[in-house]
Amino acid sequence: MSGTGEWPLFEVFVRGKRGLSHTHVGSLHAPDATMALRNARDLYTRRQEGVSIWVVPSGVITASSPEERDSFFDPAGDKVYRHPTFYEVPEDVEYL
């Protein structure tokens, strides 16, 4: 907790409906995870936008750095053969 007495920040993830994964919807301040969950319900699901909520303390998220994005994501750049469209096959072959 910061010196100002401000509650810590939590990131909120909501599962819109069964069968979908949780999606980041925003953040909020709360004194602890239990209250964060309740606040998230009131803030992000006032119109039944979710069936399940995760709250994660923002401080524990490790993120890739935007400055490094080129070198970081480079390895996948020259591997077009990972896509099915890379392969040339006869047109009259079915189920391929």
């Binding site: 907790m1 007495g5 925003g26 953040s27 803030l43 006032r46 993120a63 750095s65 935007p66 400055e67």
Partner: protein
């Protein structure tokens, strides 16, 4: 990035950093791509966004007051439940926006402190009083209607978190506008006294609603030049998508037929359809009033800020108690482990 490296790892460390930022940022803006929180961005872009999002968030939470004023006196349980939901939405919108502003590295408590100290503004529309129940209708129809007109383009704002918050807000605002119209629709078809009440509310809220779009972009007043360059820069950055005057005209064009449907008169003798322009002409806006209210001398400026400060101070014990409870349980959890 780990701190042990010795040599430069990327261009940002070898070239003029500001130039790299400008090129990368400019490239994204030119391609109409979104800027995301940890992207390098010019300081002026960040400052403009923080100021605009903070002002927007402040407007949402100050905006709870004029309508909150009528919750206990709503004419039916149905209207009361609706009004509570609407005021709760305004609180929610404020929180979405503070959350978006925080992605730029500012703290919500810092922004609130600036609001309370009068160092950051909120929309001056909320410095007008809500004198009758019909005002709740007029706010929903006109004020929220104008807000939607301003906010829909912000859903395509270049800053990702702001744009995403606006998508949620705009979805929710449409209920606000419709419930306002419904209140006036009901009053306008009620008793003569109710119709008069509706007309009086529209008379008082029409001009302040037009002022919500901000000063003219091509103004002749002292602030015109500043407004023009500010608008131009914000448009170049993709923060603003349309000029103030264009949005205002769209709002007038949309609202005139709705007023006719309601059977209420918009208080502007110069309002007439221009065949030539294909738009509604409207009268001169009293910009002196706008600058006066914005500068602090509106009917409710002092009251709104005092109420906001009081609510914050009187809620301090709740925040402290919740923090103490959380700290106690965290300590217990550690003891058990």
């Amino acid at each position: 990035m780990d701190g042990s490296q010795v040599g430069p790892l990327n261009a940002a460390e070898t070239e003029d950093y500001a130039q790299v930022v400008e090129e990368h940022f400019g490239g994204l803006i030119d391609a109409d791509q979104r800027i995301e929180p940890r992207d390098a961005m010019p300081a002026a872009y960040r400052d403009t966004l923080v100021r605009q999002m903070a002002q927007h968030a402040h407007s949402e939470i100050i905006g709870m007051q004029p309508e909150g004023n009528w919750i206990t006196r709503a004419p039916s349980l149905r209207r009361k439940a609706i009004l509570m939901a609407k005021v709760q939405d305004e609180a929610g919108h404020g929180l979405y926006l503070y959350s978006a502003a925080e992605t730029l590295g500012v703290d919500r408590s810092e922004l609130l402190a600036k609001l309370h100290a009068g160092k950051q503004k909120y929309s001056s529309i909320f410095n007008y009083p809500t004198l009758t129940w019909a005002d709740v209708g007029a706010i929903g129809w006109l004020v929220d209607g104008a807000a939607i007109m301003n906010q829909v383009p912000l859903c395509r704002c270049s800053y990702g978190p702001y744009a995403r918050a606006m998508v949620r807000i705009c979805k929710e605002e449409s209920f606000h506008q419709r419930q306002g119209f419904e209140i006036l629709w009901t009053l306008a078809r009620g008793t003569e006294a109710q119709r008069e009440m509706a007309q009086d509310a529209v008379d008082r809220w029409w001009w302040p609603s037009l002022m919500m779009f901000g000063p003219p972009d091509t103004g002749e007043n002292v602030n015109g030049a500043a407004t023009q360059s500010h608008t131009k820069q914000s448009m170049a950055w993709g923060i603003k998508r349309f000029a103030n005057d264009d949005l205002r005209q769209k709002f007038v064009d949309m609202t005139v037929p709705q007023a006719e449907k309601l059977g209420l008169t918009l208080p502007d003798p110069d309002l007439r359809w221009s065949e030539e322009r294909g738009h509604w002409d409207f009268g001169e806006i009293d910009w002196e009033e706008f600058w006066r209210v914005l500068g602090g001398d509106g009917p409710c400026n002092a009251q709104r800020l005092a109420h906001r400060r009081q609510a914050h101070e009187e809620g301090a014990w709740v925040r402290e108690a919740a923090a103490a409870y959380a700290a106690k349980h965290a300590a217990r959890g550690q003891g058990a482990a």
